[in-house]
């Protein structure tokens, strides 16, 4: 998958975010550079949740940061509300910031340990001078209640007094303070217990409905993503493999990599037919990616063609796009 192509874009449906041919490079030892994101395109329609799925090192977190311009990109365009974020001067970009927020994987380290909960949630409002002190304080209480915390109990406490799940609730309250349109969640539940995961996923769904959010949800866990997403994009080594709706992608994964991901998920059922390891080895180094299709070195269906020609995203069924020469 190493696929490129833009067959899956929907310019006619007025996307809120449209990313084309995005490239993010990091300098490596010597003069080498590593393309963590290698020509990715996707778009997001208002109210949608796009899940970005892949193994460690596939570039999904880099992609999340690059679309918010938290790290520099070396090519392509990111159009948010019709404006190209990558080309905006710094002061104009800053004016756009309240509309796009991010939630990080580690809820404990993403909160300043010296701040009280009230100050953490109020900080974005204070920075943007929204309302008076009293109005802000009232808004902080509303936000804390919205994420399921008892405002009066938690306001004056510090992050270390809370569990991981509660810290993630505080992070969510903080990210919603400025009423963003776009929320990028980078592995928001990976550090949490299974039981708490479900609570946070439900909370994100509630917040999405309540505040009309559009979300990018980055995760390595396909099962988690299924519950929350409206569209799933599978990434491998900086490229897109497959794009489809959540139900399609699980029922009929057409890409061999997606299939391997789906069958690697441990099923809580001892009588389920046991699949031997669906995929061997680990992804090759992005510093020196395979020619043609980047997945071919681990793919059970690879042929000579895959080494020569990079597959392009093609529509195999309505709304289902695969970048593979030999789809399943």
């Amino acid at each position: 998958m190493a696929g490129s192509g833009k067959a899956h874009l929907r310019p006619s449906s007025d996307p809120i975010l449209s990313v084309e041919d995005l490239v993010v490079e990091f300098k490596a030892a010597g003069r080498e550079s590593i393309k963590a994101v290698s020509g990715i395109s996707f778009d997001l329609i208002r109210g949608e949740t796009l899940a970005v799925v892949g193994e460690s090192g596939c570039g999904k977190s880099t992609l999340g940061k690059a679309i918010l311009r938290l790290i520099p990109s070396s090519g392509g365009s990111v159009s948010f509300e019709g404006r190209d974020l990558l080309a905006l001067p710094d002061d104009e970009l800053r004016q756009m910031r309240p509309a796009m927020q991010m939630i990080f994987q580690d809820p404990v380290s993403s909160l300043d340990p010296r701040f009280s909960v009230a100050r953490l949630v109020e900080e974005p409002l204070a920075i943007w001078a929204r309302g008076t002190v009293e109005e802000r304080s009232k808004r902080v209480d509303e936000l804390l209640e919205a994420v399921g915390l008892d405002a009066h109990l938690v306001r004056d406490r510090k992050p270390y007094e809370f569990s991981g799940g509660q810290c993630q609730r505080i992070s969510i309250a903080r990210s919603l303070a400025l009423e963003p349109m776009l929320l990028v969640c980078d592995e928001p539940v990976s550090a949490l217990d299974v039981s708490v995961q479900a609570q946070i996923l439900n909370l994100l769904q509630d917040m999405k409905e309540r505040y009309g959010l559009t979300m990018v949800f980055i995760s390595h866990d396909l099962a988690v993503v299924k519950a929350v997403s409206t569209r799933i994009m599978v990434m491998y080594l900086g490229k897109v493999c497959e794009v489809a709706g959540p139900d399609t992608i699980y029922a009929q994964p057409r890409h061999h990599y997606t299939h391997a991901l789906v069958s690697s998920i441990p099923l809580p059922d001892p009588n389920a037919p046991r699949v031997r390891t669906a995929i061997e080895g680990e992804p090759p180094s992005p510093a020196n990616p395979p020619s043609g299709c980047r997945f071919r070195t681990r793919c059970p269906a690879a042929t000579d063609e895959c080494a020569v020609e990079e597959p392009q995203l093609t529509e195999v069924a309505p709304g289902h796009f695969v970048a593979c020469h030999h789809p399943r």
């Binding site: 193994e55 460690s56 090192g57 569990s163 991981g164 799940g165 217990d193 299974v194 039981s195 708490v196 995961q197 479900a198 609570q199 996923l201 439900n202 769904q205 390595h220 866990d221 396909l222 099962a223 988690v224 299924k226 519950a227 929350v228 997403s229 409206t230 709706g245 959540p246 139900d247 699980y250 391997a260 991901l261 789906v262 690697s264 998920i265 441990p266 099923l267 809580p268 059922d269 001892p270 009588n271 389920a272 046991r274 031997r276 390891t277 669906a278 995929i279 061997e280 080895g281 680990e282």
Partner: protein, 302 residues
């Protein structure tokens, strides 16, 4: 931990399941005699291979490490010494425990790396941990743990820090090694999905108590404990329709410093009754050997 009884039979595999703070890691460490010190109070007994080791001084317990018991930790990044080559870390226990000379230990180390399916073991021996991926590092940690052919392997969340594809590989590897080396394993995890296919028995812990214990197949087909049911339901499933709300367990574990009377799961239990709030249910063993701790088990007593 409050009065936990767990038996791991020779060459069998026991899954130990619970949320963060349920006491699963504490249990493993206590069983291995790693919990010592002024602020630890413990009672009860730990019998390994017929020997009572619960009350032995640390130095004597240590003799069981490597050849008797070994442990795999959750975080493969911190379990290895970052400034020593893989080869020297692996050879260490072979020299100390098995009295091998350096040459023999090095050869055996290469064999061990091959056994855990690391490609090019000779080159890996010369590498530092930082040059390996998380999955490869966890394979090295497994190789160190099985170096002296232990009879019992504790695996404490061995795949939690890994990608799902690598997790599947590591779980297969552990199952194969267990069979080939005729080794017992205690697999500690918060994920019921992980134990379903890789264990013979499962123990579910909650707030430091055993709440259910049964052969794996029986546990999944006829679970008795409401907590186990809630835990199973909260796992995101591929066969659930997307977009809906996920079943979840409200609330959280009770505060261990301030235990309330009654069943510790009562505040979160969907089937709670008055009696549950005042009395801690005793551990009950059904006629079929299924052990649970509930006044009103799913499917009734029997």
């Amino acid at each position: 931990m409050r009065g936990v009884d767990i038996d791991v039979q020779a060459a069998s595999s026991m899954g130990i399941v619970g949320e963060s703070g349920s006491g699963k890691t504490v249990m493993c460490r206590a069983a291995m005699g790693l919990l010592r010190g002024g602020n630890v109070r413990s009672s009860g007994s730990v019998v390994f291979d017929g020997d009572e080791i619960g009350n032995l001084p640390s130095a004597d317990v240590r003799k069981y490490f490597g050849t008797g018991m070994a442990m795999i930790f959750q975080d493969p990044m911190t379990a290895l010494n970052p400034v020593r080559r893989i080869g020297s870390q692996l050879a260490e226990s072979l020299v100390i425990r098995l009295g091998m000379n350096k040459k023999a230990a090095r050869d055996r180390a290469a064999e061990l790396l091959a056994l855990v399916r690391i490609p090019d073991p000779e080159a890996t021996l010369r590498k530092f941990p930082g040059q390996l991926s998380g999955g490869m590092r966890q394979r090295v940690v497994i190789a160190t743990a099985i170096a002296c052919k232990p009879k019992l392997l504790f695996a404490d969340e061995p795949t939690t820090a890994l990608d799902v594809t690598v997790q599947a590989q590591i779980l297969e590897l552990l199952s194969d090694l267990r069979r080939d080396l005729n080794m017992a394993m205690a697999l500690v995890t918060h994920d019921l999905g992980v134990v379903a296919n890789h264990t013979d028995y499962v123990t579910v812990l909650y707030a430091g108590l055993v709440v259910e214990q049964a052969p794996t197949t029986k546990l999944f087909t006829s679970m008795r404990m409401p907590y186990t049911e809630a835990l199973l339901k909260s796992i995101p499933r591929l066969d659930q329709p997307s977009g809906g709300r996920m079943p979840m367990i409200g609330g959280r574990l009770p505060d261990p410093t301030n235990p309330e009377p009654g069943c510790p799961f009562a505040p979160r239990c969907p089937y709670v009754q008055d009696r549950c709030r005042s009395e801690v249910p005793p551990l009950t063993t059904a006629a079929d050997g299924h052990v649970y701790r509930c006044f009103y088990p799913i499917g009734g007593h029997g």
